[in-house]
Subunit: 481 residues, 4 copies
């Protein structure tokens, strides 16, 4: 049941006009609201008149933070928070964010969401100048870049700006120095970032998604624009749009799967977008059925849109056990079969003797959907028609979405017919690329949908698959010296 | 957002024909499936050829059990599990179940769901005979009763049977001795209990709800009947129905709120029952609206039923943050306002400028619903019509459901009109008692609906409110001696 | 290096004239001072105007108690504490003390040090009357006895007194009811118990050893006499000596090994007693040597006495690693050899080319001493002469000291000459029974030294070895019912 | 009772000829043996064919390591371990060691004991070149230096060698690259470092103290010489002594206090050295007394030496509670008085009516000794004569020993007579500098004793007190940017 697509991070920053526990607690609450964007590690850095305190570790917000360490973070006027998804092992707390370093001009704290496509080149350049690296994340490279630029330029915001011009790929960044809070988004706008304001106390808030703004009782103001650099200092906001040249090409998967339904990104409600995807999927539909169900939780909203459009009744087909988390003990092999039904259970009375349309957001390897179809048929479904609210995954993502290797993507290796047979469905349909674009009309060509189309809105690295890139970084461990 | 109605427990037992890790792991998985019935404490007792191992503690299944203590429970042929909700403090691990004691004939393990209405009298009788008590739960009284009867009778099952005749109130019990597994249900059948069977290995399973059977790969066989006593020994099942005289009067709140939607109780799907309650509620409805939404998670299914019947579109009105649990740090007062929206967030685009019907399963004090209506109006809802899929709470429950004191129940203190004004809704309707009964036709009078009607299917204690009873037990602490 | 002799418990109780955090904190500190008497589990029960709060668990005081649960125990006027050594497994938190029960007249809290020799008979009698037992400790039997007597008698102290007359064996008890604190010691006085008083606030304190009195800033008043029952109520102390008929026969191992050197028991300093044992051992000595060393920590004081008397210089022969505790990870077999030297390390320069006399308090199986002699010889000792500051263990203890089974006691199975060869020593001597008695002159015959002499100062159980008794209790698990 | 003098670190490294769990477990055991050198944080880095795994955290070895993370460290052919004492707060896990970084030529792991006196200049130089720093420890500076030199030189050992020439101050370093294990000691030899060898399997071991060698079943070979650089690669050892120009000036406090008594440093047994210090102190003595006692644990050995020389009997004057650690809950102010006696308790019978000589290794602020004298007098000591086995602290240490600021050092602010009165002693004597030098004859002038004499064997930083240096580092947090 583990999804193979995972967003890398959620970021949050707050600038207030007082020194109190408001900054740290708001960040703490906000990380709860962004937890869906990363469950691997999390952290908060607090700034009390230039002195930085930080707490970060592997684990959920509820596991990493407690009353004691929130108190140790203490009163502050600024804070930055981060939740992270990573594929590395459990000992890798070194990559937890925010990144907190000191350079010649003072402390620098960075929270990063995205993927730098020229990271390897930049890293090598720094290493050739004597740089040392602690982890494998892009954030260290960004820190070196800012530190190097700060040497030549007069302010941290100029250094950040210069760095943005060097960095390629996808990034939304929130940066905290001794006295300033800075937010910036890559020129293509792959990753979301918005700004909010608490009208009572004037605090300014940046967040990956608008759903996190209420953590600081802030109201949504607007999205940070691609290439825009916002600096807050002494309570004043400076918006530098001189790098804003391109249209926004947000990752379309934010609407399909990543973002929380109550978030609004680029003036589009994520919930509405998913309903629309479901409706469009229903318009493509060619079969009659008795019930529309969604795979929890990723397929539920699209299923509702499908039901509305198709006029086939929407029903809950499954109960997903929300108590199962990381500490769940997987048994030895012979008992493993039991645990699948513990995690996801079919509501028999809903599907028995019914022709069922089951909607999910995507198919990666196909094994999960195969199991779902099997469960539905065992529960008595007469027919199971699978409908996917996105096109086939056929290409890698270079910009921060963790898509499985192409050799594992079922749509790269099987025809539509073969997939239908593999998963055991009576029929299968994917939303077309044209329909995905209709989330936003008529500029929908502005989304990045490279994983479906193979066409990306920014330069992609040559001859380097994501995996090979990682190997390159790791292979150094084995270098002779 | 904390509900004031809480079921006391979920119970599970398994008898297998082998000594392996299957019994303990099945119980562990089953407790995950029953976790919704009690989040305060949990426990597992394992039986390896008469030697009992037990682990129980305050906390969720995921917090109490780990690889180490599951291994310590070890291989077994029988096991019993329990999840418990309790109102007592964090130091009260003494009341965690299963109860494991030794009496003259050997070990006895008891898992109990329900409330014994003559507990105080029985306790006093035992105390007058020199009994000592560790906790305040009914289970100890049951243990003393069984031990006393065992002295006079020839087998543990006869002792249990004799005890059932003395006990008044509501109870489903799973009892394990050195060699036997016994399940029994009170004569009125207040609390659910079903039996399942693993067809591959012949294991017999008892569970509060059918949704837990798949934890042992067992299939549902049937409900244990009110008054039925089932004994398993040497792989043989003996069903003693000699006490089965009454019709079943299951607590109707199992369908309205407690049980998991995928459970089947008395041949009625809980999901179907909730859909039906929603439909009946819609039939009572007198207003037009643009959207039907449910309060997560308790009102969601009834809202779907309402939408189907009313033909008003069903929408998701809220996002409930599933990462917030016990370890969430509530901030100091001035920041508390923030956290409400962290826990439950309105999807603005769904309700803005809409006339909204919001469905929930019940109103207790009214303060939660008041906040929900306020949130919806702040999000732009033009009208908010509240529909409750159960009648007004007006009476106490003597049989194990933790209903608030009458002085706190809003329906005891305000008229329908006053409540509507208090919660700020445009209109308010409750399902009628007549309609609640229609879950099951035509014998629906068999449900216990005393909390709505003030009429109970079994004797109720006189002159003793639940609270007074507890006071009576506690006051002993202050006795002079 | 694990000793096979272990005292069962340390107990502490405090009665104050105010409700503050003084009672709980004093008990917490006192348990640190008594921790050497039991490292398996510990607990504190606090009494605030008759309402009992309790926290107990498996683990050291430093592991079980933290700021949070000390605060939950809260303000109190009375408190009881307990540290326990037990041989049972890690899941056995059921036997942790104090025992807290409720009987017909209110709450009862018991802290117990000792061993009841007629426990099996009493337990059976209670079971025949319908009693149920949670654990396997004697304390439950004591609780039943007091509860039964309380039914017939007018006060808790009379009930305790009557119970003392029924109980056989060794026990020092501290008992707390809603309003009273009671201390009592068995008629033979096997286990120590003293009374202290805080002169500033008038608080009365009971403790297993005087070293724990300063935890409450109390000064030593006197030992509780064998058979004496002291009741404190409303700030008044009542000393009932009507059962004081026998001389005290304290377990001599309190002086040899159990008690802390700074404790004073029966007017004898434990430190002085050990110095004296060492001196007497030196008087028995027949060899010349260059250095006297002790085995840490149990043999160090006697070694100093030996050195003084023999005029052979005392040296530190070993460094014992004090950081190694329960969480030390024992490696797989092939690396195990390493860990012995991590735990205990020889100071080479002290023993190299020296004739060494090494003093320890006892030899149980001989394997530890064998390893010590080997380490000393490997470090260059020319001769190793072993001197033991107690006689040979040859008999079981029925009164609470956990001595190994006779089949394991090396002195039951080998001659002095054979033991000498087995451990690889150049010579070996034990202190004679006559010399052990000289700790206290001339009444030294009053100590219990049954484990050496086979003569006990109280009735011993017939035909029942300690192990068999335990088997008898356990075998019930397997009883048919 | 908290000492104000604290060694910074203990380090350990092992090179084996196989890939097994031997390297990691040996390091784990060794950290237990070095725990006395640092209790704040600890860590282990393991090297399996160039791939580094690391686990480090704040806490004792027993708290940081468990079976799970030892297994995750896994099989390895090399490993490095570190224990650290630090003065920084609990959130500062960033400074835990070993330091693990990646530079252009691969991974680099550093364990460091000492203090770099030109750290601030070096740090600034690197920062001016764009370097970023994570923590405040010297180790990062060392890493940058090695990385920079590696760019210009052909091997890691040449880079380390070049770095040693740049570094000023005190350092013993163990460094691990993908394929090599390197040990090096500063040219003055302030900090100890020795080499051992497991004769069975040929493993080579480096350790701060010889007491840690047995953790790998290795035997002591010799001390690493000041300025010596040892490289192990492909099982071959290369000892580069080309920088060995100076005599060793080990910190004399290693003998007085830091090192474990069973360690041998520069061919001198630490135990013997302390006995000798005690004897020399006795030769200075002018008073008669009845007993010599030591302050546990730092003064115990010198007290024994004093007793031997003076022929006044050595006795144990105190019991120190070894169960009290970091998790001990200090009570609110009014109960604090109690806890002092819980931590350190006087054995009354030893000192009552006696003239007592009490020996400790040093006096820092005088408050601890004042309390000790008071306790002894309250316990009945007629006279208390304080003897210190080192000279007065009068000067700062620039080389890694954490001595209190001069304004707090009692010997900087009071005359001998005034100190005697302040602590309430009948007399007071310190060991003379001349006598301290006699630990090693006749080259004893080779020790560094700058904290006593104000004369150091290496260049000291100008115009920079240790505290000011730290301020300088921290002040950057406040820099405008």
């Amino acid at each position: 049941m583990i999804k193979s697509i995972n967003e890398e991070c959620g970021i949050f920053g707050i600038y207030t006009n007082e020194i109190s526990d408001y900054a740290v607690y708001s960040t703490y609450f906000a990380l709860y609201s962004l937890q869906h964007r990363g469950q691997e590690s999390c952290g908060i850095a607090a700034n009390d008149r230039g002195v930085i305190s930080i707490k970060k570790d592997v684990g959920l917000v509820s596991q990493v933070f407690n009353l004691e360490n929130l108190n140790e973070l203490g009163k502050a006027s600024m804070a930055i928070g981060h939740v992270r998804y990573s594929t590395t092992g459990s000992l890798s707390q070194v990559n937890a964010q925010p990144l907190h370093i000191k350079h010649i001009k003072g402390p620098l704290v960075i929270a990063h969401n995205g993927n730098i496509t020229n990271a390897a080149e930049l890293r090598q350049k720094f290493e050739e100048n004597g740089a040392i690296f602690y982890g494998t994340s892009d954030s260290e490279i960004i820190a070196y870049l800012i530190a190097a630029n700060r040497l030549k330029l007069n302010s941290i915001e100029e250094a950040v700006k210069q760095s943005v011009k060097t960095l390629k790929g996808a990034f939304s960044l929130i940066i905290m120095s001794a006295q300033k809070l800075i937010a910036v988004r890559d020129l293509t706008g792959f990753k979301p970032l918005c700004i909010g304001r608490n009208e009572e106390n004037g605090a300014i808030v940046f967040a990956s998604e608008s759903c996190a703004l209420s953590a600081a009782q802030a109201k949504f103001v607007r999205d940070v624009q691609p290439g825009e650099l916002i600096t807050i200092e002494n309570g004043e906001i400076n918006c530098d749009k001189s790098m804003c040249s391109q249209k926004c090409h947000l990752c379309v998967f934010e609407y399909i799967y990543f973002a929380r339904p109550d978030s609004i990104i680029e003036n589009i409600s994520v919930y509405d977008a998913r309903i629309k995807l479901g409706k469009l999927l229903a318009q493509q539909n060619s079969v009659d059925a008795d019930a529309v169900i969604g795979v929890p939780f990723s397929g539920l909203v699209a299923a509702k849109g499908f039901a509305i459009e198709s006029k086939i009744p929407y029903c809950d087909g499954f109960v997903k056990n929300s108590y199962i988390g990381r500490s769940f003990i997987e048994p030895t092999k012979n008992l493993r079969e039991n645990t699948i039904k513990i995690k996801l259970s079919v509501i028999e009375s809903v599907v028995k003797n019914k022709r069922v349309i089951v909607v999910d957001d995507s198919i990666v390897r196909g094994t999960t959907m195969k199991r779902i179809v099997k469960m539905l048929k065992e529960a008595g479904a007469k027919e199971v028609h699978v409908r996917i609210s996105s096109p086939e995954f056929k290409h890698p993502c270079y910009f921060g979405t963790d898509i499985d290797s192409q050799e594992n993507l079922i749509a790269c290796n099987m025809s539509r017919q073969e997939i239908t047979e593999f998963i055991g469905a009576n029929s299968l349909d994917y939303l077309t690329i044209e329909n995905v674009k209709k989330i936003k009309l008529p500029e929908s060509e502005n989304f990045c949908n490279g994983c479906f189309s193979g066409v990306w809105p920014a330069e992609t690295p040559k001859n380097i698959s994501k995996n090979k890139f990682e190997q390159k970084l790791n292979i150094k461990n084995l270098k002779t010296n």
